[in-house]
């Protein structure tokens, strides 16, 4: 573990430079082009105990290359919303547009990261990262080169030939992020990706994700129940509340980038988190 980090250190340095350059160019455009438009979205489930409203009248527009966090207690529909965007479930009512086109089936413009790394135990780390490339029938020579670059970027160079069982939880999730990026999707959907990790690894991976985001320029929708994580990472925090699942408030986070862990001690950070906490309500 320690070895891999020293190896990848130089590449991370250059990543930081790249990231700063990107951010200067980016300069928070006034009106970013819309990547995802969600209009009047409803989702209801029929269960044995009756009708459950998972999402009620959700309206949300996500800009291109924006980092949006969906935060809320369990049962607020944040994962349902993410699954609807990825077309893994069909909404009951309303529509979702990605790049102006209605979503009907899963698109290869989307990479998904789940709470569990769900790496296939019979494949090496490299082959796990390559899985989407194989399924999408991409050029495997190019994909292999990209996989190595991605693994290097997350500090996993040297682990290509290892099996997932030999990796720590944090390393597995890093590999899962590489897998989600291998086919170079324009959007990354992350469903509580760091929730199963310990607090330190979680913070480390959060910052790593920001570096990747800066280098790779993706629209990221990040589901979490951790308010600090949401504020630290996102441009906007979409606060959701349960029963029925709906958006309570959308809060723009105007903390400077690149973000750092010690920003949590800023008074602004505290006021953001108080506000999120107040709107999502703990019922």
């Amino acid at each position: 573990m320690g070895k891999s980090q020293t190896v990848s250190f130089s590449s991370r340095e250059s990543l930081m430079e790249e990231s700063n350059k990107f951010l200067q160019e980016r300069k928070r455009p006034e009106r970013p082009t819309d990547k995802v438009v969600i209009e009047k979205l409803h989702k209801t489930y029929l269960t044995s105990s009756g009708r459950t409203v998972a999402l009620q009248d959700v309206n949300l527009t996500i800009g291109k290359d924006e980092f949006v966090a969906l935060v809320g207690p369990s049962g607020c529909g944040k994962s349902t919303l993410l699954r609807a965007i990825s077309a893994l479930i069909k909404p009951s009512k309303g529509k979702i547009l990605i790049d102006g086109t209605p979503v009907s089936s899963p698109s290869n413009q989307v990479g998904i990261v789940f709470q569990q790394a769900v790496l296939l135990p019979w494949r090496t780390v490299l082959d796990n990262v390559l899985l989407p490339a194989e399924i999408l029938r991409l050029n495997l020579v190019k994909a292999r080169a990209r996989a190595r670059d991605l693994l290097n970027m997350v500090g996993l160079s040297g682990f290509e030939a290892r099996y997932p069982g030999e990796l720590s939880g944090g390393m597995q999730q890093r590999a899962a992020i590489c897998r989600a990026l291998i086919h170079n999707p324009s959007m990354l959907l992350m469903d509580e990706p760091f929730a199963a990790l310990d607090a330190l690894t979680r913070e480390e991976l959060g910052l790593e994700l920001l570096r990747i985001w800066a280098a790779e320029k993706k629209t990221i929708v990040f589901v979490t129940h951790n308010i600090s994580e949401a504020i630290l990472l996102a441009d906007r925090v979409v606060a959701m509340s349960p029963r029925p699942g709906r958006i309570s408030e959308i809060i723009s986070v105007d903390l400077p980038r690149p973000r750092a862990l010690d920003m949590e001690f800023l008074p602004e950070f505290k006021s953001y988190s108080d506000r999120v906490r107040a709107v999502i309500g703990h019922s």
Partner: protein
Amino acid sequence: MTEQTISQIDTDIEDEVIPEGRWSIKDSIAPLLTFAVLLLIWEGCAIYLAIPTWLLPAPSEIAKAFIEWHGELWRHTLVTLWETLAGFALAIALAIPLAVLVVYSPFLRKCIYPLLLGLQSVPKVAIAPLLALWIGFGVLPKILVVFLVCFFPIVVATATGLSSVQPAVMDLIRSLSANQLQTFVKIRFPTAMPHIFVGLKIAITFAVIGAVIGEFVGAESGLGYLILASSSQARTPVAFAALVVLTIMSIVLYYAMEFIEKLAVPWAVGE
């Protein structure tokens, strides 16, 4: 830098050796010794109580039978081994495709599963005479008994394995719009492999029993036939020798499966 300091400290510390549950000579000697003592007691009882050889032969008599009859024993062993392996292979060849059909078609599952359960509930010992009646006394009815005995555990294990893909993995594969063939080859089948091996290991132990049952009903060769023939002629030591060979065959086949399992699904064995 920190690593260096740590390694310097390390050299001053005497490492405690944590036992890892590794194989040791001591572990394997204990059961062997127990076995040897039991054999000696058996030998002693046979001599001291003057038990007639046709009733219960002493271990030394069985050993003698081994030496005198080794040619015959070997010939019959090959027959039983062939029946066992052929029936086992036939069961694999038919059970795995059937399990795939059952998993992919809910309609077939509804049609076939109750039938399979019924088939499994029929005592195979009771089918063996019918098979002999229909196909005669050759090797084929024995192979069929082995097949019947092995079939069910392999179907169930394979079907279970094919349906045990984690929901998150299915989501991942659906998000990539993978087709059915890709899903099967890249996800479902490898996921099922460890389960299939559980079924195969159960089936292989049944297989030897199946072959012997087949031979008991009516045969001209095989270890089951040899046991039946020798005991009816009061050549009990030979029957015992055949029994020992059967036991060894069972054990060897089981460990062979375990060995193949280790090669085929190394990711599942270590855990």
